[in-house]
Symmetry: C2
Subunit: 455 residues, 2 copies
């Protein structure tokens, strides 16, 4: 057992500084969710495979982590029948790890529908697991951070999610562009282009426009059976410029013959009116080339990009009309967003936006000059802690140099020394690590002195 | 798919109120850890089985959840050789779910030893999974909440853990008894009883004294080969009464011939001196019948019981001298404690100690009387939220009765009505849901009015 231990590929340990930064992100998001009346829930890491399978497409099913049944999982397998791998797997694994938070949430709402007061506003911040090929920025275990309102079709919910995004990124100091589109506009475009059955193909193709460019999107559309004439109708929409209002007017004219398209125009135009009335500080843009891959979206869709840092979208979401239908609860509409914690982490790091205080574990280190000296510090330490100040007493009476090194490495702001002379005078020597300044402070004045220094 | 979905046996959904209560517990504990300079880390849910196997005894190995390798896990199995279930399992599962936080922590410290500044004070709050038979109060997924200091042998660390326990339960309003013992005293007792090799048997037997009583402990000792004469030496220790000081003096006399025993007396007596000097508010008791089952403890051991509510221990821990040795990092001593979140949850519920505010998702509901009225509220809502007040705008213009019901069910303190007349006068009608009192408040005074009401 003497080889250095390691962790599975695609998973991560989060050390103290990474955790402090992650908590900074999650605490900010949670505080905003709280102000908007969203309440937290948690679901188990393990779900029955019957809940998970078939919800993420064939590719998703392959990426599910399956858990071996406990006890002797293989005792009931009839080897003589030469079962296939798939047959054995379904026999020996009944549970899997959560793949996202959306399906467990739909399961939760269906299972607890009689206890829930609708409209139900919940948020959920938990890890998910995918047996994906690990690569830069893609992990097999990562946190999702979702907020959804379910049981209301009002566009005020869409507005609220935009306001949440606005407040979260204002608090984090990230300038973003909030891109909005509506699946009904996409459906309308497919209709007026004469290919209403190709709506999802069009959506999937234009979802890639950022990655592969307009020409490749057109090639893919042709491949999917969307003809040249139809593409000629779709193309100007994808390259449409102008103000949000101009775009809405363009769509209104273009989609006048499509019922679903006009419903989309009405929704998007009401939402932009609400956004104007509420006053959003960040940039909000109607982006008709925004599609989002997930096929359960039916109305508004959102995607948020950082303006000053090149990275994919850092938040996204949309309206879905029938998420719980797969579990037998029909006609429940909802709308939600998901914050991409790992990418937000990288943006804040790249833009150097983390508060410096996140680097320090404690604010104050009391050095340890021996048993009596340590005992002399105990009362002051308790007082500071009871006032909320984070203090450490160095546990060993090591060389002072080593103790100061410990303070330096831990980014501790203040080091307090109490030796024989300080004890005799009822004082402490307080050293400000940033300025190097040193001050003798009476025991009873320590708390007030430090509250000034630590501000 | 129309049958009602469910979750795996022994796992739980945490709804909004349960989560608010759990967060209340964890937030209090985290705040205390922070004040003592402990920093959070997280490790992956999945560890390599080579990290986990053999660390929890044969019984523990059986309770590990194993994860099927991704891809076609069974393709490499040589069925012709008629492999045993164990052989197949080890072939098709390389990863398992975390069984506790201690072994992952030891793995973390070993793996990251060059990045860590010792003494290293970390805390960790994450779920663990055990394929145990589910029963009342025992789950297959539950959170552990651990704090450890590693890389220091000083008893100041033990003191600090006692202070942490003291502050946590003071904040939560739970009166506890902090029971302390030392494994070296148990070793000394085995020595002076003439059965030094039976130290672990004695420990395991007396660990059960609360559950099975003194007579059954004696019977078990006999069974384990501890003779009548030795039991006659052990017994008076288990039933020893008196003050902590009297117990220490008794042990000092009794163990004078045992080197390890006298080291234990020295440690326990120093720790109680430190506790007196630091001033602990909760009851602290030297309990010589405290043993704790885990065999890695080598010094101080702790166990905390609620005084006003009958339940097992709600917190426990101890000193271990060689936790990272299993991973090849020798001679690193540590001491830690673990809070039992599920039991603390039950104690607070049983004693009715949760703040009433945990029941409400939002503080204020703005009713929705129509599109124009809702738009009239938007500015006020934004202002309140920017000041940290949690507000909800009812998303549909439903009947007022329904909206008030929504406020009642959600324990919302204040409901605000804005209809045509309020809009005309630039006012809001504010209803205090507890008192039933209703007040007309000018738009610009709303925030100040509410800060008073909500206090």
């Amino acid at each position: 057992m003497a080889q250095t231990p390691s962790i599975p590929k695609g998973t991560r340990d989060f050390g103290c500084i990474e955790m402090a930064r992650r908590n900074y992100i999650f605490d900010n998001i949670k505080e905003v969710f709280r102000r908007f009346g969203y309440q937290q829930i948690e679901t188990p890491a393990m779900e029955n495979l019957s809940t998970l399978l078939g919800k993420y497409g064939d590719e998703g099913d392959k990426l599910l982590y399956r858990i071996l049944n406990s006890g002797d999982a293989f005792s009931g397998v009839d080897w003589a029948s030469a079962p296939s791998s798939a047959a054995i797997t379904s026999k020996v694994c009944e549970k899997g790890l959560r793949y996202d938070l959306t399906v467990p949430f739909a399961r939760f709402v269906t299972q607890h529908q009689n206890e829930i007061t609708f409209p139900f506003k919940r948020f959920q911040i938990q890890p998910v697991w995918r047996a994906d090929r690990p690569q830069k920025g893609r992990y097999r275990e990562f946190y999702q951070c979702d907020a959804d309102v379910i049981g209301s079709t009002s566009l005020l919910n869409e507005l609220e999610l935009v306001q949440i995004v606005d407040m979260v990124f204002a608090r984090l100091g990230i300038n973003v562009c909030i891109k909005i589109n509506n699946r009904k506009l996409l459906a309308g475009i497919a209709e007026v282009a004469g290919v209403p059955d190709k709506m999802m193909d069009i959506t999937v193709a234009i979802d890639k426009i950022d990655k592969i460019g307009l020409d490749n999107v057109k090639a893919e559309l042709l491949e999917k059976g969307v003809g040249e004439a139809a593409i000629a109708v779709v193309e100007p929409v994808l390259t449409l410029s102008g103000s949000n209002q101009e775009k809405i007017e363009f769509m209104q004219k273009m989609l006048s013959s499509s019922e679903v398209g006009m419903k989309g125009v009405e929704e998007i135009s009401s939402l932009f009116e609400l956004i104007s009335a509420a006053g959003i500080r960040q940039k909000v843009e109607l982006d008709l080339s925004l599609a989002r891959g997930l096929n359960y979206y039916t109305g508004a869709i959102f995607e948020i990009k950082a303006l000053d840092f090149a990275i994919g979208s850092i938040c996204g979401g949309g309206r879905y009309d029938d998420l719980t239908g797969i579990f037998g609860l029909k006609n429940v509409s909802g709308v939600g967003i998901s914050f991409g914690a790992d990418r937000i982490y990288d943006v804040l790091l790249g833009l150097d936006k983390y508060p410096a205080s996140l680097l320090s574990g404690a604010s104050v280190l009391f050095t340890n000059m021996g048993e009596k000296e340590a005992a002399y510090c105990l009362g002051a330490i308790s007082e500071l802690r009871s006032h909320g100040i984070s203090c450490v007493l160095y546990p060993e009476s090591a060389k002072l140099k080593k103790q100061f090194e410990y303070a330096n490495r831990g980014n501790i702001s203040v080091v307090i020394v109490a030796g024989e002379s300080e004890m005799a005078e009822g004082k402490f020597t307080v050293k400000n690590m940033a300025s190097g300044e040193q001050q003798s402070v009476a025991k009873e004045d320590l708390f007030h002195y430090l509250t000034d220094v630590l501000e």
